[in-house]
Symmetry: C2
Subunit: 245 residues, 2 copies
């Protein structure tokens, strides 16, 4: 028996998110089926991040246990032959039998992409959020600076989430503008439900001039979801990578 | 009566190219229908570039004549309300009644995008060509330099094309690598059928080490389609812009 770690990229457009659920097809379900057929075993993967419906990933992580003698690094090739083209294993490797992708300390990086011009660009419609309201990136950067470090991010936690604590650490937020494209890149040790999308929605409110940048501090301190901006649409979000320590 | 020029962006994935044809739905057909419904007239647009099935555009150009009194710049808003989300008018403006998008002197810029890594990235599958063969960008740049200027591009002309002359002028070819992404950007005053895709296919052959860069000169001088590389897949190609003089 060995444990194999997969680095999984997917286009989330046609999936009801990562985690197996009764109402629709999920990335994890397709991966479990594919692995079960390939190995002849009943495989249930354990995922690192339960991304929402419509959210994309370049580097989500999943592990599974198998009796197969195939070397860990060969699973990527075998699975990519069988998976639909909106899911691709980027890497496979054998890990310690007790490695758990959610309980081992890690750092996640997300990107939220915004297309900011007069009209949408069709080829980017599934992978960025479009807004014609001109966004001031300098204001967004100033607002983002209040979020760096360890804080109670309760104002940025989606309702319905069950967590012991809403304290999290945001290590870095980079905001870059290139032509009509704005990318918000957030790295942290763990995120609350919808946290990146609520931060993105609030930064867009501030970039659009609805509030001054200092308002972000007030929103953070309020510890009240209703004070923050809207949850930005899923299509703009991509889980870029997960680093384990 | 006035003539309106449209700058048209589209995701070519689900279309049989630009030009109206009996075998499948095209961008021009959708645009003609949309314009005819909106104006109540029988509109037939004239397009600048008849892009192939699966090719994308950020800035193709089309014109049409209408009796409508609406100012030229308002058509973009009205049409974008009615078009499917894989077609978006980026700009509309009134032009001289004799402006013809193919007969007025112009310069076109195309981008051919390549994803060059071990495994495909699902979110890029419709908008770039994937190859795992490592490409040497310096060799591609050297090879591309032989194509700059006025030449007989017969070796890079798709079979079945009916043209008076295969002499064309390539003004610029830029090849950039950013991470795993390689972009070939070509600007010229006119292109032969499949010319950009055959150039891209030949540059990939050279970048992958099949021929040395100097071979490009030999291919050009042979004036023989069979000497050049394969026609690179449509999904990697985007018509970026058309500039009129």
């Amino acid at each position: 028996m060995k444990r194999v770690k997969l680095t999984v990229a997917y286009d989330g457009t046609n999936y009801c998110g990562w985690q197996v659920q009764p109402n629709g097809i999920t990335v994890q379900e397709v991966l479990n089926q594919c692995l079960s057929e390939f190995t002849g075993e009943n495989i249930e993967t354990i995922g690192a991040s339960r991304t929402d419906a419509g959210v994309h990933a370049l580097g989500n992580v999943a592990v599974f246990d198998t009796e197969m003698r195939m070397p860990g690094d060969k699973f990527s090739f075998a699975l990519n032959q069988r998976l639909p083209e909106d899911i691709r294993i980027q890497k496979s490797e054998e890990v310690d039998a007790d490695f758990h992708p959610r309980y081992v300390k890690s750092q996640k990086t997300y990107e939220y992409r915004i297309l900011n011009c007069r009209f949408p660009i069709p080829t980017e419609r599934f992978y960025s959020h479009f807004t014609y309201i001109p966004l001031d990136v300098d204001k967004m950067k100033e607002a983002a600076s209040y979020l760096i470090g360890e804080h109670d991010f309760k104002s940025f936690c989606g309702t319905g989430a069950q967590v012991k604590t809403t304290v999290r650490t945001v290590k870095e937020i980079q905001i870059e503008k290139s032509g009509d494209r704005i990318t918000i890149r957030i790295t942290g040790e763990g995120f609350l439900y919808n946290m990146v999308r609520i931060i993105a929605g609030t930064l867009m409110d501030i970039g659009g001039g609805l509030y001054p940048p200092e308002k972000m501090k007030e929103i953070l301190e309020a510890k009240d979801r209703k004070k923050a901006g809207p949850t930005a649409p899923a299509r703009g979000l991509t889980l870029m990578k997960i680093q384990y320590f």
